[in-house]
Amino acid sequence: MSVPDQERRPRLAVGCRLNEKSQQQRVLLMPERALRLNGPSLEIIERCDGNHTVRQIVTELQKLYSKAEPEKVEEDILGYLARLHEQRALDFE
């Protein structure tokens, strides 16, 4: 699994989207599956819009979760993005 480049801009792949905000449990919908999203994973996915770079997502999440170790936050995000990319849920632009 390769580590995503910090300057690339992740975007949800075609056929993948978040369910509606009004729905209680937020999930990432994709062909034949759905991923439940908790607080941090939702924060990450909402920024996979083709505008935020990987670096920006890391910085913003480090601020949001300021009690967590910044290095750990970065590591978790990079791993999460790489997994989603491998599952074809994300493209890096």
Binding site: S2, A13, V14, G15, C16, R17, N19, E20, S22, Q23, V27, L29, M30, P31, E32, A34, H85, E86, Q87, R88
Partner: protein, 395 residues
């Protein structure tokens, strides 16, 4: 009602049994619903809303061939506006670019296109129609639009020699996802099983090809694989467990826990025209019958794997062992495994005795999906090879 009943996550909407194809492994029941008994669009709209209210996240519009319904666009729109992720499980006809645009505008999220082979000639034999060229056109149209694309290759004894060509075709088209799904032996495939079940050697070779493809395509195309579970050591978690995740509504509105459940004797299914989807899901006898663990034979109830495979498939237990409440005979622990072994022995006459589960087992991790049957232009039907039992069209 049992308060621990989980919410369903997916609705399989069999909107018609009509289909332009006549696939020899169609998963539809042998007794097809007639057109005059199909639910009208207004009833489907209500079903879709009720499903979303029950917690369903995704709807698969399937059939038969869902495109055979002129009002499909209204159903897709209704699914999407109910908040569901809308997938179309299709053979790709009847379809032109204008209708595809309308489907995408209605909110279609995902288009799953079936292939019966890598080439026109073989695909024509297994589908009873010449539709391969149309599928290639449809794949290109879908690629040019903002909608997810899965290619679904249905594989079996007769077309496994083309597997590498299928991989090459998928690579050329470039969908987000490709499925190579061995036929599962229900419906028409059960009738044609002797000609569809691969040999062990074929199966092992196919796994090697798929593993290489998975490796090469990683990050570009997601590759999924469904094995023929007769070769597995443990049964599949059919539908993710009976009445746990999925419900299926037939063209006439009957609600089933899976595609094949109407083979089970004495099972009475309730209809969305008479009761709400919620009541049927939570309370109906058919959904309660094999839900949870109480129904299980001792062997399953005390097995470490019971929360993984839920005792396997009820329909397979009935079809092979004539007892829907038995451990799936595919399970190596089943006292009835010899039924499966003797079928495999007929398929592999020269091979050495004893089990060889090792490779097939790996593939099982992927899946529970039943291969979808799909499409034809009746006028262009290929001459049926007498050995096949082709799926006809309902009246």
């Amino acid at each position: 009602m049992n308060s621990s009943t989980p919410n369903p996550l997916a609705l399989v909407a069999e909107v018609t049994h009509r289909c332009p194809l006549h696939c020899v492994y169609c998963s539809n029941p042998l007794e097809l619903t007639k057109r005059e008994n199909e639910l009208p669009a207004a009833a489907w709209v209500r079903v879709l809303r009720e499903a979303a209210g029950l917690g369903v996240l995704q709807v698969d519009f399937t059939g038969g061939e869902p495109l055979a319904r002129p009002d499909l666009i209204d159903l897709v729109r209704a699914g999407r506006s109910a908040g569901l992720y809308a997938s179309l499980i299709t053979s790709g006809l009847p379809l032109d670019e204008k209708r595809l645009d309308e489907l995408v505008a209605a909110g279609l999220d995902h288009f799953q296109l079936s292939f019966q082979g890598a080439h026109e000639e073989s695909a024509a034999e297994y589908s009873g129609t010449r539709t391969h060229a149309q599928k290639l056109r449809v794949a290109e149209w879908v690629k040019r639009r903002r909608v997810g694309l899965t290619l679904n290759f249905v594989i079996h004894r007769q077309n496994l020699a083309e597997l590498e060509d299928m991989v090459a075709l998928a690579e050329k088209i470039g969908p987000g996802r490709v499925e190579f799904a061995h036929v599962q032996y229900y419906g028409w495939a059960f009738e044609n099983r002797a000609r569809l079940l691969p040999t062990r050697e074929q199966l092992n070779r196919s796994l090697e090809i798929i593993e290489k493809a998975e490796e090469r395509l990683r990050g570009r195309i997601r590759v999924e694989y469904v094995v023929p579970d007769y070769y597995a050591k443990y049964p599949k978690a059919c539908m993710g467990g009976w009445g746990r995740k999925v419900l299926l509504v037939k063209p006439d509105g009957d609600v089933l826990p899976c595609h094949a459940a109407n083979v089970l004797p004495g099972m009475k299914f309730e209809n969305v025209q008479k009761r709400s989807l919620r009541e049927i899901w939570q309370e109906s006898d058919a959904f309660q019958k094999y839900r949870g663990e109480e129904w299980m034979p001792e062997l399953c109830r005390t097995c470490d794997r019971r929360a993984q495979d839920f005792g396997g498939c009820r329909c397979q237990a009935f079809l092979l062992a004539h007892d829907a409440g038995a451990t799936d005979p595919v399970c190596s622990k089943s006292p009835q495994r010899s039924i499966v072994d003797s079928i495999l022995a007929d398929t592999n006459p020269a091979s050495s005795s004893g089990h060889d589960f090792s490779r097939a087992e790996k593939g099982l991790a992927h899946g529970v999906s039943t291969p979808e049957a799909i499409v034809p232009d009746l006028s262009a039907a290929a001459p049926p090879s007498s050995a096949w039992l082709y799926r006809p069209n309902p009246k």
